[in-house]
Amino acid sequence: MTILNESGIPDVLPPLHAVNGLAERLPDVLVVVVGTQAEAHLVQCLSAVPSPNLPPSRRDQRVIFAIIDPNDPPQQGLLASRIVESAAGLRGTSLVLLVAGRTAESLGVDAEFEARLVARKLDLPSEVVNPDAPREVPGILSTDLEDRVLTVLVNLCPKRKTSDLVETASPAKRGGLFGGLLGRGIEPSDSNDGRPVVLLGGTLKPGAAQGLAAELSRAGVEVAGAVPGSGMGELPPLGEGTVVAVMDPNLSSAATAAERRGATVVKTLMPVGVDGTARFVQDVAEEAGTRISEVARARSAWEDLGVLRNRIRGKRIFFTGDTGLEIPLARFLADAGAVVLEVGAPRLDRRFLAAELQTLGPDVDVVVSPDYRGQTNRIDESRPDVVISSPGLHLPLVARGHLCRSPRDFLEAGHYGYGGARRILELLVRTMDRAETLDSLNL
């Protein structure tokens, strides 16, 4: 594996686009986008799950735009009181998120203050998400807002201290807000060395974590829940004594937040592909106090994929990079016999992705902050069989005769776990089959 830095302009969908998707995914959250006409327009134009064929944007009543007139910036506290008024009409709100970036800041809005005011007046948690806040590693991914929202959710999870561990486990005390969740799921193991696992990720696909949770419980691990799970009311306890299993490679700040709360974040592969899932389950289980071997399971899953792997073998795949999901996908596909020409990484957190990068095959080039024009040229020269492309390049590349899929298509199909490995390969094979059918037509 080689890592190059191209210092170019990557083609990345603006992270702010995710507001719609998040509002849909977290139905008890009120999202207030603070800024000017520009932010509101962006959020409205780029719909929930962007694909090359953007579906018409829908209005979600849980997304509100606070548009500030640059010539007449509001007084402190006005924003908060307007938000309180708007929230009054919405039932079942349990969190108010203020998405306030650089524009809001330069207009003199103190978002933290307004959020505290909203929290006090509504008696609800209210947090600020700053999409433009600097990150440790430079660069931008289209999934950055999800990461930041998950960071907020991680911090809102109820804390769980070692001393509570015994108490929570005793049935008598299990009546609290989150006790029900524990009781409904898997019974906490009686042995004290078994630590509950919280899955982190799967933001845009509801139910994405369930398959993995089942896989882990099969291994005898107690899964306390998932973040974001199915909403604010069901956030699992997360703190000292919790094991956090990160499902997506683009959640570095959420993972850091979990670590800061004292949870153990498992450093392992993402649960993508056969190898990835096996390592994930094994390492998470071990951290949670259960030793298991996934070798047999992985081997049989691998053999089951034989026919599909044969179809992929030797196919040349190019990842332009957009969501950050590309690296585990490339790792799995290279394993399965595909030739990965390039993996674009608009941002690459080498420390967070150490395990992934180590496992990435020797022939794979990772290009950090790739230039989309350079990539287009390289794609034209190397003519890959499939390009996993970002939304902005999708149509131009298709028009140049390349076969394209969006990284989000894999997410939609459900790419986690052993079943996900099959779905990833099937999706690619289906794509190539269809292209072949269309190519054979005499137009």
Binding site: S7, I9, H41, R59, D69, I83, I140, P396, V398
Partner: protein, 478 residues
Amino acid sequence: MKLLRGVYEGPQSYGILRVAASIRGVHALLRALPGEAYFRTLHGARERTGEMAPVTLSPLREGRDSSMAPGNLVRDLSGVVRRHPKTEIVILVRSEASLLAGETIPATTLPEVEGTGRPPELVKFPWEEPAMRETEAAELALEDLIRARMHDRPERSPYPTVNLFGPPIFGPGAMAEYAEAERLLDMVGVEVNARVPLGANTGDLGRLPRAWANVLLYREVGESATLYLQDEFGMPRVTTPMIGAAGTGAALRAVGELCQLDPKSVQRTIWAELARTAKLPWYARLEPPETFQNRRVAIFGDFTYPLGLGYALAREVGLEVTACGTYLTHLERDFLFHAHTFTEGAFVEDDPDEVAARIEAAKPDLVVGTHLEQGVADSLGVPFLPLCPPVADRPFVGRPLMGYAGSSVLADALDNALRRASVEPAGEAGMQWTDGALQEAAEVPLFLRGRARRLAEERARRQGSGMVTRDIFLESRS
């Protein structure tokens, strides 16, 4: 500060980019945060042609500028010239964030293009400011681009020609509007000198004064450019919206007059078209008067479309226009002046919730609007025609609303909408509401209230209750 649930217009940079992307030979350098560069993606998704939008990002970065990475404005400008040697005009567009950051734009010249030995023209827009909106900026940018190309005074063409000033890129039927206008002008014997901005190239901009007159299809964007051409070159304008059979006829006659055509021959063409292509008058005559009697319509949109459609629906079809509004607040006076000729309910508003409330108060049987009015039409349970920009449709084949062909498109749309509406059973009137239920309903956001009311009444009916109680209302909402 305003709390809105949607916006009708984008920021100024978006308007300028729409104009820039409409004209071949123009390349825009967008100074913006990396997270603001969505125009290229949107262009791909809206146009679906596979062409890359002529926009390059110059990312606004903080900190030192030591690396060779993009972000240095001067270097990025020369990069555009190097990468796009066919570009004749490079424009510098600044996003809200760039404007608010208050960075100074260095005076710079562009390098020469290899081979030609001269640099492309650099056009900057000193009037850009963060509070400005899409349409106004598009209008000013078009004027500036035309001014930048007016190097000499071209000869007037020996035969009658006109320029078409139509909508910019992303209007779902924008291309079709130009094509229909050009078809009709061709029939009366007037050639189109240039389509501006969509379909023009930079050379066309310099040749605009060849034409005898300017026909404004879309005043929102063409107004100040045509006024400039009128002042500078004495070019007359035709401003009647070419919507509906009457509007189209009036526009064609005005063009005929300005181009000194024989009025009788223009009239013959109009009659022939009325017989063959224009189906709106035919539809109006064919339907029994009862179809339109006491049918109210609410219209909302930009400027040209609501006014043109309002006039056509009120006069040519005979619907009662009980509300007609625009979100273009900077055209308020003009809009109200024109709208008052056919409606009492003219208004200017840019908050979708308020618009929804206005439309609801107008008790329409049909809503014509932008895609943001879909919700209120749904909640009122009346048919909805998304005929005013912005709309979310991205058809592969654009259909015109202007001209005679456009009048037939309108007739079809009305025929479908009004027929469907008349088949639907009318909701039982007179459902009673308890005070508790009314209080709860008042808490629902305005634009959802109609729907909530309807759902609650349906639920009460299903339960066999003649009265909507607080419980029924809450159940219907859960």
